[in-house]
Symmetry: C2
Subunit: 148 residues, 2 copies
Amino acid sequence: MRARDLAADFPTIALGTSAMDAARLLAEHRLPGLIVVDDRGAPRTILPGTQVLRLAVPGYAQEDPALARVVDEAHADEFARTLNGRTVRECLPEQPRELPVAAPDDTVLEIAAMMARCRSPLVAVVDDDGRMIGAVTLQALLNAVLPA
Amino acid sequence: MRARDLAADFPTIALGTSAMDAARLLAEHRLPGLIVVDDRGAPRTILPGTQVLRLAVPGYAQEDPALARVVDEAHADEFARTLNGRTVRECLPEQPRELPVAAPDDTVLEIAAMMARCRSPLVAVVDDDGRMIGAVTLQALLNAVLPA
């Protein structure tokens, strides 16, 4: 079994994608993160789901969650609004997460090794031109190798 | 909306759970990780999904994925077998990941702040005795706060 057999369609975003659209993708698909591709469709990095929250939640609340308690419910529900007008570029961590990239004929063990080394539950699979053709998730990998 | 309203059942494991059972849970449920509880049912830490792979994949393959290529398919398929007889205790990272813990009446903003600060897409919700009654996922949180 090779990367091409394990790869499935996976939602991608661009640096210019709105933070709200990224949040919606995360909410709809129960994904560990979103793959950011460049203009050529080449995978560049991963946007961890919690990074979107880092943009949406006021700094004081992140530093001391107890302070978040004094904010009333109405304000709490408003935090999604702070995402408006922001883009994925602003959500990315200062130290971008390494997104492992595999070739279509990489083996199961190679993909597992990439995931283990990068601690990434996602591996992007690219064609000869570097364009993303799908992604292998930890779940797909485990389902392929675990005894039935 | 409070933590109790957002919390849902979430699979838990113990330190003595077999690594194979943990891998199966990850494969079946598409979870970002598994919550490890102690004998009293109190949440202790999170087992990130990729940690199971770190135990299953030979060290040489993690350090240099290119080396994994020379291992033939038959061997690659065998790695699940290395999990046999190992436990969750052996899978945990040396630096355990912080699992945020919320009380049932914590607000949405408090939960979001915990997720953002700990970079954890999961928050365990515990009762007055510290026993886990469920977990809030990033998806549940986003679904609650994003405009329809």
